[in-house]
Symmetry: D2
Subunit: 337 residues, 4 copies
């Protein structure tokens, strides 16, 4: 880290900073300019020490040099992580498409749409059993009943299934029914939950929080990995900005950026990312062109009857069309120089 | 709600919307303009129905008219809610100040600062036993040991104590030790946790999420109240914006706004709201001038040794000075016309 | 528009709103619900009247129904606008690529890079003669000298050229030298400048402001068109958000959205949109996959010697590689179903 | 500045960075850690050089150490700048209140409201003659006619007057009529305009752009000061965030922050900062409690007939009440310890 002293800092104040650093085992380099004295400190990044230094008199600010994430960083592990979900490999060079309705609403409906999305080329099924809803008066999911339907759909189609888990008390139950756990955007910094899914072996899709920086998102992944579970898949799903035409602003630049910074696979969810089904197709193509490892898309056989997220759900036939376009784009970028 | 049809909508499409509304028990009014047909629908706000209508062909958008929050709204209950915390009344016309360190770090240290902030006029003690930290490598709190220290500080000072709860499994344990539970900003939409604290009787301080709109914040309060606990205290603590000089952007306009929209008391946390101790004093004064019911302030006897949030913590003597200034401003606005 | 009355609004207050609307020639529809009275008003959107109604007692809020933009809307003109720039058609189904350095720095350098980008497939040349810089101490451009170099490059390569104009006093001068004027992001709401470029016939590329909503962006286009110049080309270049890894957040969903809302062509600038040259290639592909009509890309023969925007500039060989990839993606989406 | 090398940087790459720095007259310090090599460089901040270094191979990022603003910094000039506007001193320890309608709409109306706000204690009159409006179809101001009315109001009341200038061609004309020029938020980075008002002697109120960081705002002030005009007054008027209940989010922490960073006086505009007249009073008090040097408030004798900004305008009697409250708060903070 680099400690920038105030212009008016006294030699005594500089000395106290250096001492504190040496006490903690850092070696220091002093650069004395006309305008400022700066102190370079070589050693591990340590958030508490950085905060502590920032409060000493004469210190203007402390600039971190090393990135705070380690286990998920590309520097720690050079080659891409490939996460296996049943027979499906995420991050292995194939484009994987997770599709299904926002919520499991009924057995018949879900099994029907499951077969439809499989036929169109989806490789993983999605469906929410526990739904995080802004309003306590909205449909909150079928809960364990929904998990049973997911399991049945898996048996029927042979596709692995993914569902969101929100409560640390339910992690082991949910694991019994599904192949992949999803940490939703609102729970990205629910650290008890992150540690809980860090203790299991099932793959975890970690959605980016709507106001999370890329660094915070990777730190959340770091929670899971450092608790023991390395099967982490990132998923960009849009951030909150001032623009209100779309539900969120899909940050596609995060895709190539995250591929540079980490070895983890990254998905894109154009459904939540836009909130409008007419934008899902173009943004799915754009996400693939940006280099993502897969997509996560909401499909409902009858969006106008959906209990949640109807406006952003594709009909099965629109999903089919999206798949055709997406495949062409994937081929185009696969042979990229 | 109001349904705006596309310019090109057919009479048949309009009819289908009207039918759907009538099926759900809404009475409708048709306004046929040159540019647009709009349909006014009188009845309860229903998120699923609004989404459903938005997906029908010919519909451009659906505009909600009623606010989504009910039990916490000023319309539902006209007079101010006063929440009792031990002998302290929050929202009752007195300014209450919650103070203490970010985290309980040691028994001696906490008891010492507890007496100091009491002497300076704090009416509630704060201290974190479980700490939500961006990095898994940072200090995560003393956990139950911390709760015991909080209880001891309460006995020593006679002041009620507040601490954050992050895990629904720990709600009842935490309740045994402290007087008020805090839902942290990152957990504002942790709906399982909200429902869990909705089942108890202890007061709950609900911090605004860093990317939560005022409406979402009030919907989170609605989760708690509709689960049975009406002792909800709101706390503005800054939102995330593009500005990086400060840790967050303290949205003080939320204070008078929330007082208009709801009957709940509202606090302001200028420590997290700014991230810089030099700004805490001025912003505490500003918050009081804006009409808040109380403050929540981080105080540490030695900020440069704090294990977290040192840069935004006041020393006890700075806290004393803040209290003097804040009192003067409170008197000035109390006799406001 | 729809006027939502407060729950407590009196019949007299409702009457006053209706009267005001009728005075202005609106026909009104009253919907009296249990919770609220709402008044639908049929007539032209009128910002001043909406504000005026919002201040009447008993009015909770006024909800606009019609969009504020007219001449640039898809409803006003159904077919796509094709803007001719020399022999190049923007919006006509071909992908156009505008390329060149951020600033014209020297005659030799610019002519060299102009030939390079032409060889790689660029169809329009870009180069700044007047540079808007955050700091008054940074290079501000060669000014009229730069315009002469641009003209020479046009003669040399046969490609049309584009440059930014910032000062209404210089519009006619700049027009003498270049084919297309650019309104930069920071000047998107410089209304005097918009009206000035509205009086000429040259095509205008209108960049989206870093904090402009899509609606405000289209209203800026409306300024130009309503002043008489219909040759407007939109350009998405990233918006300002809390994320700091990238210079801006490129909002690619704006591309299909703007194509739905307006008849104007839309470009994407992945250089400013990301600020990092390593992200320019993937985001250029993503932009094309999202359906844009063209790209605007910064290329410098030696980015580490550039006087501005070096970190986001491609070298000519990286630009060549980008062009190959972009072409493949364009073909893939061109045959999209 | 500090140059952080990539983990994999070669000694040769490090050498090339050092060489480039030495060529530009910087002295360098090398800190070689296990994880990273960092190079400290002592010398003036130079944006072009920083960008240039960032593009060299092996460089991860370049961290600026010195702040980019100079002439407006507290380090450059320790004592507060006091700007004289007629007999009024802004920044001299008295609270100054600029009040009046958004736009000058008619001679009679303006003279009437001018006398009213003077009676209530306003010390400067405001009124727009040229109005920046999002829509080309909205009222754009009375232009030179409006300037004449402003001059007449000045003669009548004896108060100095302020108005916005948007077009560099009109700076000298506007100067003939008014005492203070305002640079509006949308023009904060209209650099030609900034340089133009830098050439005159009249005081300039520089509003913060809705998406401008504090650093960019101060750099805009630097444009004016470095062009020769030191009479710059800053004005916080809210930034754009995701919150839509208010028109902008008033960033009051900017007030004490800017007072630390610069020697310039700072005003707050709670009218644009909130967009709702009911919030103007509380936020005016909060702004004063935060330490601002003055307020800028929109007052209209009949807000429901205003041609612009009616919803955020106070009536004269509400303005009177605001003034009383504001005075009490100002007294409370004036004797602050």
């Amino acid at each position: 880290m680099v400690i920038v002293m105030e212009k008016s800092a006294t030699p005594e104040q500089v000395r106290r900073v250096e001492e504190k650093l040496k006490d903690r085992g850092f070696s220091t380099h002093l650069s004395q300019g006309v305008e400022r004295t700066i102190i370079g400190a070589i050693g591990d990044r340590d958030a508490a020490l950085m905060e502590s230094l920032a409060t000493l008199s004469g210190v203007e600010r402390v600039v971190p040099i090393l990135k705070p994430f380690k286990l998920c960083s590309r520097e720690f592990k050079g080659e891409d992580t490939v996460v296996r979900v049943g027979d499906v490999e995420i991050g292995g060079g194939e484009l994987q498409v997770i599709a299904g309705p926002c919520a499991v609403e009924s057995r018949e409906g879900f099994l029907e749409v499951a077969e439809m999305v499989k036929a169109a080329g989806a490789t993983v099924l999605r469906g929410g059993a526990f739904k995080p809803r802004t309003s306590p008066y909205s449909f909150q999911g079928l809960e364990e009943e929904g998990l049973k339907i997911l399991r049945e759909a898996r048996q029927l189609t042979g596709l692995p299934v993914i569902t969101e888990v929100m409560d640390p008390r339910l992690v082991s139950t949910v694991c019994e029914y599904v192949d992949v756990l999803q940490i939703g955007a609102r729970n990205m910094q629910n650290f008890f939950l992150l540690r809980e899914v860090g203790k299991i072996k099932s793959p975890v899709v970690l959605k980016r929080g709507p106001s999370a920086t890329i660094e915070e998102w990777l730190m959340a992944a770091e929670y899971i990995i450092s608790s023991g579970n390395t099967n982490v898949i990132l998923c960009e799903r849009g951030i909150r900005t001032f623009e209100t035409y779309t539900r969120n602003t899909l940050d596609l630049a995060a895709v190539p950026l995250v591929k540079q910074l980490t070895h983890l696979p990254v998905l894109v969810d154009p459904s939540h990312g836009t909130g409008k089904w007419k934008l899902v197709g173009p943004m799915a193509c754009a996400a693939v062109a940006a280099g993502c490892d897969g997509l996560m898309v909401e499909v409902h056989q009858n969006p106008s009857e959906a209990l949640s997220d109807g406006p952003q759900s594709l009909t099965p036939s629109n999903f089919e069309r999206m798949m055709e376009n997406v495949r062409r784009v994937f081929e185009a970028v696969s042979c990229a120089s």
